[in-house]
């Protein structure tokens, strides 16, 4: 593969990961918002005394944001940075 091809491939991989992770975040968040809008009784139901499903899922969305960012940073630090370093070295 030529230099240009590999740069294109890396660029495509970065956008693919970026868009998938963004889509995952949107799925979690809008899933939560749609439940708030359409199934209030479900979110108001108690998991244990004092803890409603709504509060639990809300905290889960915040944790999900952290986890998705962690996945991205891990990929970027491990694969993306090394690949870019190699490409830069060849130029």
């Amino acid at each position: 593969m030529t230099y240009a091809d590999r740069l294109k491939q890396l660029d495509a991989a970065r956008w693919r990961i970026a868009i998938s992770l963004t889509a995952a975040m949107m799925l979690f968040y809008f899933g939560f918002i749609l439940l708030v809008a359409y199934d209030k009784p479900l979110l108001g139901s108690l998991v244990v005394p004092g803890l409603s499903l709504g509060i639990l899922l809300g905290a889960f969305v915040i944790v999900a944001a952290w986890v998705l960012i962690w996945i991205y940073v891990r990929w970027a630090n491990k694969h993306y940075d090394t690949a870019i370093e190699t490409l830069r070295g060849e130029q």
């Binding site: 956008w15 809008f30 108001g44 409603s52 809300g58 915040i62 490409l87």
Partner: protein, 503 residues
């Protein structure tokens, strides 16, 4: 006591400004602190810019008065950060210099893009400034009994001192100090509130349910229309990635890797802070009580300070109030700096001077713009007295998501994007969000007292964001720009910080 904490903070931060001022000699220092901020520092500064008065006072108050519904805001404000991380931060750092318009204009014709970007940015900055100034005026009036107008002028004057003399260096350090104060203050307040409940959040939520009914733990009336909820959610999620003062911070770090780590830190701090708002809101609801919170301010904005007084007495109230004030001051400084960068770097240097202006001239124009914006902030704060702070911030996010985000994203990864598409998308996003805000129930029914509103949603995001994307795509398809497409190879290299090959 409050006054003491208050003056200590102002004196200390002006000291920081004095030190920073001695190092601010060039436009690069004024806008980006010379690009030498570390990941942790920038993470704190981003968190500082983001955790505005709306977050601390507004959300705690909303939770205290309406329970779970308030948490919808906490969560919405956080989910914009993964979007910034995945789509914007690193390419933005690699392609631009001082403002996000640098990136949009990278391979397009400079003048039309920068003028459109400036219109969008200034609209966002103005709405955001109104919210902060109104919050500041109310806070100082409540704490010291000063006149609202005088309070707004004091905030404007102190903020001008930071930005004018210390530029981005001082603004960043004021942000860092404020973020540390706010995070530790909110944490301490949450721990002290929880100590009344055996350090068990569930015991606190149980107490709230016992006192006000179990309904406070579930969704209530605040989100009644599903489309309203979706519209606000979309605006909050994509708006963060279009806020000029947030985007500008990515130019203060040396490279894309540091931009990446700064978003990680920022998201960790901001998420932690919003989790704390769960405790603060319900804590105020139980320990202060809804009637007492309402008696002081109908919007509930004083819930967090009142909780501080209930658990820690007057000294703690003083500390928390000073923190809230510092929060507003720092956010206003960040916004003004971003607005000044748009006026001087985008409009004056790149449009009027065609990119050819001396360092001294750039710095002079930047400082003049700062003064203009500072005066504007004071005037807007006085004119919009009595507006709901959290709502105004929601609108600023909607304009940012419609005007700036689509053009910024498409310019970085769509080969066929054109000058005209960028220009029309930014103008359509700004105009449609402003017009729909004007036609919304909030303006038509609540403010103008009309019987009905011609647009049903309180937040325009659900319509204006897709519209801005559609305009961009349609215009680019109808009027292709081969030169812009040819220059995309350069973007493909520079986006990864690889120098483009000479053709």
């Amino acid at each position: 006591m409050t006054a003491l904490f208050f003056f200590v903070f102002i004196a200390f931060s002006l000291g920081v400004t004095y030190v920073a001022a001695r190092r601010t000699h060039s436009a690069a220092h004024f806008y980006t602190a010379g690009g030498r901020v570390t990941g942790l520092q920038n993470g704190l500064a981003l968190a500082g810019d983001y955790m505005s008065a709306a977050s601390f006072l507004g959300i705690a108050g909303l939770v205290a008065l309406s329970g779970f519904d308030g948490l919808i805001y906490s969560i919405g404000f956080l989910v914009g950060w993964p979007v910034v991380m995945f789509l914007i931060a690193e390419p933005l750092r690699n392609l631009g210099k001082y403002t996000f318009a640098d990136v949009v204009a990278f391979r397009l014709r400079q003048a039309p893009v920068r003028v459109a970007a400036a219109i969008g940015s200034l609209a966002v900055v103005s709405f955001y400034l109104i919210a902060q100034m109104v919050g500041a005026g109310n806070l100082i009036r409540l704490l010291f009994g000063l006149e609202y107008e005088l309070a707004v002028m004091i905030v404007g004057a102190v903020m001008l001192a930071y930005v004018l003399f210390g530029g981005m260096m001082a603004t960043t350090w004021v942000q860092i100090i404020k973020a540390v104060l706010l995070l530790s203050g909110a944490f301490l307040l949450a721990v002290m509130a929880l100590s009344r409940f055996g350090f068990n959040p569930l015991a606190l939520f149980r107490a709230a349910a016992d006192q006000y009914g179990v309904a406070v733990l579930g969704p209530g009336r605040l989100v009644s229309n599903p489309f309203d909820a979706m519209s606000l959610g979309l605006a909050l999620m994509l708006g963060t990635a279009g806020l000029p003062h947030i985007l500008m911070r990515f130019y203060t770090v040396p490279d894309a890797k540091t931009a990446r780590s700064s978003v990680s830190y920022a998201t960790a701090f901001i998420g932690f802070f919003y989790l704390l708002t769960f405790i603060l809101g319900f804590g105020a609801m139980v320990l202060v009580g809804q009637p007492a919170i309402r008696a002081i301010d109908a919007g509930g904005n004083m819930a967090a300070p009142l909780l501080a007084k209930a658990v820690g007495g007057d000294a703690f109230l003083g500390f928390i109030s000073a923190v809230a004030f510092a929060t507003i001051l720092a956010v206003v400084a960040g916004l003004t700096l971003a607005g000044a960068a748009t006026l001087s770097h985008d409009l004056w240097v790149n449009v009027v001077r065609h990119g050819d202006a001396s360092e001294l001239e750039q710095l002079r124009v930047a400082r003049a713009s700062t003064i203009v914006l500072g005066v504007l902030a004071i005037v807007l704060g006085i004119v919009f007295k009595g507006q709901n702070v959290a709502y105004m911030v929601g609108l600023a996010f909607a304009i940012a998501a419609s005007a700036n985000f689509p053009a910024l994203l498409l310019s970085m990864f769509w080969r066929r994007f054109t000058t005209r598409a960028a220009q029309m998308s930014m103008l359509a996003g700004t105009a449609s969000s402003l017009i729909l805000i004007y036609l919304s129930p909030t303006i038509q029914i609540d403010i103008l007292k009309n019987a009905a509103a011609s647009f049903p949603l309180r937040n325009p995001g659900l319509v204006s964001i897709p519209l801005s994307f559609a305009v961009a795509i349609a215009v680019a398809r109808l009027w292709p720009e081969p030169e812009a497409e040819a220059r995309f190879a350069e973007v493909e290299h520079r986006v990864h910080a690889i120098p483009a090959p000479r053709s």
